[in-house]
Amino acid sequence: MQYTREQVLHMAPDDASAKAGQQLANSSKWTVKCISDTALWGDCQGSGKNPYKTIVDLTNIAFKCSCPSRKFPCKHGIGLMLLYTQQADVFSTATDIPEHVTEWLAKRQEKEVAKEQKEAKPVDAAAQAKRATARKKKVDAGIGELRIWIRDVVRAGIMNIPQQSHQFYLNITARMVDAQAGGLAAQLRQINTINFYTEGWQRMLLRRLAALYLITEAYQRIDDLPEAMAQELQTLIGWTTAKEEVLQSQPVSGTWAVLSVTMEEEGNIVTERSWLYNKSDGRFALLLNFYAGNQVPQALLVPGAHITADVVYFPGIHPLRALIKEQHSLPHSHIDITAGHSLRSMYHELSAGLTENPFKEQVPFVLNEVYIHVTEATWLLSDGDNDGIALSNTTETCWQMLAFTKGKTCSCFGVYERDHFQILSLWADHKTYFVK
């Protein structure tokens, strides 16, 4: 097993699970501790009569546990892996893999095959067209209402919105959900990220409303738009492209570095964002996974890992969202990417990108020879030309990043969004810091 302690802890869904996992990295808690080429498994004595049976698929990292936890991976999975990183000698190398382990590994294999078969399954075109027409009708109606709502807000003025900032968009958001325009609903929900207690909220709110209006305006002319832009627009409104369909598109092969893996929980949904970087052509790929309730992720990527993979992109203009078609882990190596961007060239690229796709909000960049700067509680990323951009990372993270760099130049990966840059990983001198 090639995972380090830090990487295992990074897999924990939250700090509580990481802490509980550490408590379970205790040889005495595990009555069975075994490893084979493909899996790691153990029996952990909990408070009940029967021990929990935990399995980790080491080929394509995945967890299985008989405990009732809804978290994934559960503390037992984390604990078992941590124990292996701490005391590999207490694990016996199994020649006979127990039935429950082989059964689960086989099932995973079967699922892979079933997925491939599903990919090949032909679609009922007529039914699909009927559904599409019905949906378009709903979306059209929804978009019409959204345009009226936005105009009403502007007519009345936004001055009093801070007093009702949490409610004023709720009805129209629900209406967009009903109209099957989930993308628009999600963008309306973004209004709650605006801090109405700080100066500048007026501009941010107007920008958000204007962006939504621009989408509706463009939608009215969708038939005249180039195909890629139309696809982009449809995605923004809420049309999804079936994964099976995406998986059948032309893959981009190469060696990919996993630059960042972050989890964000909102309501009952956990959003996992994994950013990959193709070392041969410099393309980024964003793997987005949504987990609701006790949904179990199929595979986990560890930040800092390198994989060879066939990546397929969702349709759009310079798309970022992607899926992995096939992947193989590579031995551990340090992240070392030279992208040749300065902050000024980044801004140039952003301007050019905006003319191609005015809807693009998040743009990933790798920047080299940059440094972290703080002045009067404002955190900046700066480069050798003394150009800078404000950071949107939390103050706590900024201090950790500054400490990591020791005020020296480093390379970083992050995402530009609305004149701010969010650093997701930093590297210098063969060391990497990942923002969780």
Binding site: T4, R5, E6, L9, D15, A18, K19, Q22, Q23, A25, N26, S27, S28, K29, Q86, Q87, I150, R151, V154, R155, G157, I158, M159, Q202, R203, L206, R207, L209, A210, Y213, L214, E217, L343, R344, Y347, L350, S351, L354, T355, P358, I372, V374, T375, L380, S382, N386, D387, G388, A390, E396, W399, Q400, M401, L402, A403, F404, K406, G407, K408, D419
Partner: protein, 486 residues
């Protein structure tokens, strides 16, 4: 600025205000203005073109000065594994384990990887007592970051010149404590200058700091406190005066003790002489003695008054001085006192004297005595001499005993003592808290693991057994972590 105009219109509402198009976007603005739509549509389109136009032309900010770089570390960095364990311990709030990791890193003269330093500095802020050792392992990065963050600056702030005059109570106490250690007389001089102007609680707090390095030089100041308004201050000053060997008060005690205690030599079997100690019950103490805090009547049933008075006096006299005045050694004196028929009534006082004056001979003689429960006698012994006596304090003085056992050097306990402790704790698992169990695990030898494993396998389901089983499991985990650290 057109953007301000657009925002103004958005704030007030289009019924009240409509902006003119931007000069820079005149052509587009004119097209929008000519649209046969409502004002709201035109404002939103104006906003889109203006805001997007601005965004497309954004340029980076200018950064005037660059931060100074962190100076290179002079000490080596702790291993990746150790740093990772520190991060996990911080995350899991395992303070006992974290303290051990910090100790090992500091002992090895290493520093943490710099990205951990902010977390450690925050930890130091939340627990000032452990701050010095935490700061030590932060190395140059710690000092550098403290210079940049006002919250952390306190860790490297140079002592201000007027701390005594303007500092808050904790700073002033720290200042006086340090001065007392460096220059005891100067500390008294400083205290004399402001003592009268302090409130009662502060006077008492400062006075208590003088207990370190008491000497006859303090006598005049302490005597001057006999007229203090605070009863507690007066009592504390008198208690110090009683303890200062050579003070007028202490001389009176010594004089009384020498009047009561007589050492005689008797010939035994016509061959050798044997010293015997006699206590003169007929010596009447000076009435003034009872105005210094000495009780005239015994508080303990069955203890004669003269023994009780002698005991109170003896606990204020340095055994070595008393022995010298009696022309015997302190070891001989304690042996004679213990051989006396009233010895059992004096034990408590003798033990107090041995502790106060750190008299090793007396402590070694007293510790094996049945009925001795004063664990502070161990203070009179060297750390290496103490473990022989730990066992006798397990049953009745465990919390205090643990303060000796769980030392700052993480000394490993002997197997018999470990077993005795674990046996006792298995019967009384709630005597100590969970963090203490974790700390204890760091002192247990690896050979104690089989015993802990037996406790883990104890299948009884009463709540005490279950609780101790959990603690035993946790101790096993920590022992494993410790053993795998190196």
């Amino acid at each position: 600025m057109i953007t301000d105009e657009i925002i103004k219109a958005a704030l007030l509402g289009t019924d009240k205000y409509m902006p003119e198009p931007s000069v820079l976007l005149q052509e587009t603005g004119a097209k929008i203005a000519a649209l046969p739509t409502d004002k709201e549509d035109r404002l939103l389109k104006l906003a889109i073109t203006t805001l997007w136009y601005e965004e497309a032309g954004r340029i980076p900010l200018k950064v005037a000065n660059r931060l100074p770089e962190c100076p290179p570390e002079t000490n080596p960095e702790a291993s990746e594994k150790r740093c990772s364990l520190v991060r996990s311990a911080l995350l899991a709030k395992e303070d006992a384990w974290l303290a051990y990791l910090v100790y090992t890193i500091a002992k090895a003269g290493e520093v943490l990887s710099s990205d951990l330093v902010p977390l450690i500095l925050d930890k130091a802020l939340s627990n000032r007592k452990t701050a010095p050792v935490l700061i030590k392992i932060c190395g140059q990065a710690g000092q550098w970051l403290c210079g940049l963050n006002t919250q952390w600056q306190i860790f490297f702030r140079e002592e201000e010149e007027n701390t005594w005059e303007t500092g808050h109570i904790d700073q002033r106490k720290e200042y006086l404590k340090n001065l007392r250690q460096a220059d005891p007389a100067m500390a008294v001089t400083l205290l004399e200058q402001t003592f009268a102007s302090e409130n009662a609680a502060t006077r008492l707090a400062f006075l208590e700091l003088l207990s370190d390095q008491l000497s006859p030089a303090d006598e005049a100041f302490l005597q001057s406190l006999s007229k203090d308004k605070s009863q507690k201050v007066k009592e504390t000053a008198t208690a110090f005066l009683r303890r200062i060997q050579g003070s007028a008060l202490n001389k009176r005690y010594l004089e009384y003790a020498l009047n009561v205690i007589h050492i005689k030599e008797e010939r035994h079997l016509l061959v050798y002489k044997k010293k015997i100690l006699e206590l003169d019950a007929g010596v009447q103490p000076d009435e003034e003695l009872f105005k210094t805090g000495i009780d005239k009547i015994s508080r303990n049933k069955g203890v004669p008054d003269y023994i009780y008075i002698l005991g109170q006096v003896l606990q204020e006299i340095d055994p070595a001085i008393l022995a010298g005045r009696l022309d015997i050694t302190d070891a001989e004196l304690i042996a004679l006192l213990l051989a006396h028929k009233e010895a059992k009534h004096l034990l408590m006082f003798l033990s107090s004297a041995a502790t106060t004056f750190r008299n090793k001979a007396w402590a070694l003689a007293l510790l094996p005595q049945p009925g001795i429960q004063d664990i502070s006698l161990l203070d009179a012994l060297q750390p290496a001499e103490r473990p022989d006596f730990y066992g006798q304090f397990i049953d009745h003085n465990l919390p205090q005993l643990l303060t000796y056992i769980l030392d700052d050097d993480y000394s490993t306990l002997s197997l018999p003592l470990s077993e005795a402790l674990l046996q006792f704790l298995s019967r009384n698992p709630y005597q100590v808290t969970q963090p203490i169990y974790q700390r204890l695990a760091l002192h247990l030898p690896a050979q104690a693991k089989p015993m802990l494993e037996n406790f883990v396998q104890d299948s009884r389901e009463d709540y005490q057994t279950r609780y101790f089983r959990t603690q035993a499991l946790e101790m096993l985990r920590i022992i494993d972590l410790k053993n795998n650290l190196h």
